[in-house]
Amino acid sequence: MSTPDALAVPPSSAGRQSGGRGPGDAAPSRPLSLSYGAVLLPLVVGAVFLLIWDLAVRLSGSTLFPKPFDVALGIIELVEQGLLFKYVVASLFRVTWGFTLAVLVGVPFGLLLGWFRRVQEAFNPMIQALRPISPIAWIPLAILWFGVSDAAPVFLIFLASVFPIAVSTMAAVQGVQMVHLRAAQNFGLTQFQLFRWVIVPATLPQIVTGLRIALGIAWLVVVAAEMIAVNSGLGYLIIDARNAGKRYDLVVAGMTLIGVIGWLLDLLMRQVERFPAVRWAYGARHE
């Protein structure tokens, strides 16, 4: 299916190796170097990074900054204390609910914004004014309203995610090609049918991209929110480690875990992007 330019969205990363194969295609023989590349290249980059990190700490003579091995030991210590799993669950719980609420509110709202000009005129200035306010700035209010509970970070994540989702959904709707809409009208579709069979499929790729970005933001915000507003979670782990004295190895261990989970979440979203209903809009560069 050819991809109209207006619907093309930024292609996902070079990490996707099997793009382009539909369910009915015969499997093309893949050169061995491709699968090596997927695994070997990042490993090499990672190893070089660790090496530079280790050397830099040794050369600087710092007693505070941990080396990669110290961080690994720190992670093991966290696992042994039994805190790690609990805190990961807490952070994931808050992201799940905040993000889900943001999707449930943001996607319909974005569709409305994109489809009805009046709605956009009415709400867009307000959205653009609220959007740049960092969720971090909302923390004092969140604590006042919700106390020290899960509701505060969930609220902050919702705030951080709902705007990117609504705006990218709105842009997706506005980007639907006139030719498709005219064709649909010629077929005599009702508003509802138009929505269900033309708008939604056409906008899905861009909406999913918006979701991926919003999920990244959500994960970022949950950590920041947990540093202040609650008593559990990965952000709290970092603050707690820092308050426990000179445990910067635990601090960096926490940071590493946050990074790893963020990466996994991103991988998850990329899998969603590979569904046929979504994948068609991405550039053919990676086939």
Binding site: F85, V89, A90, F93, T96, D150, S232, F275
Partner: protein, 50 residues
């Protein structure tokens, strides 16, 4: 396909919620609770500093 996605999403939400309630909010703990006879909470905030 859509059904599967929705099922997975819903399943994850339930799973992580139950896990969180169990591990962090101790909703399923049997045994004595540190609550008043009247059941009211009394939280005392502090910083670990003199």
């Amino acid at each position: 396909m859509r059904r599967l996605v929705l099922l997975v999403v819903f399943g994850w939400i339930v799973f992580v919620t139950v896990l969180h309630l169990w591990l962090n909010l101790h909703v399923f703990d049997a045994g004595p609770r540190c609550k008043d006879k009247e059941g009211s909470e009394f939280r005392v905030g502090f910083l670990p500093v003199t």
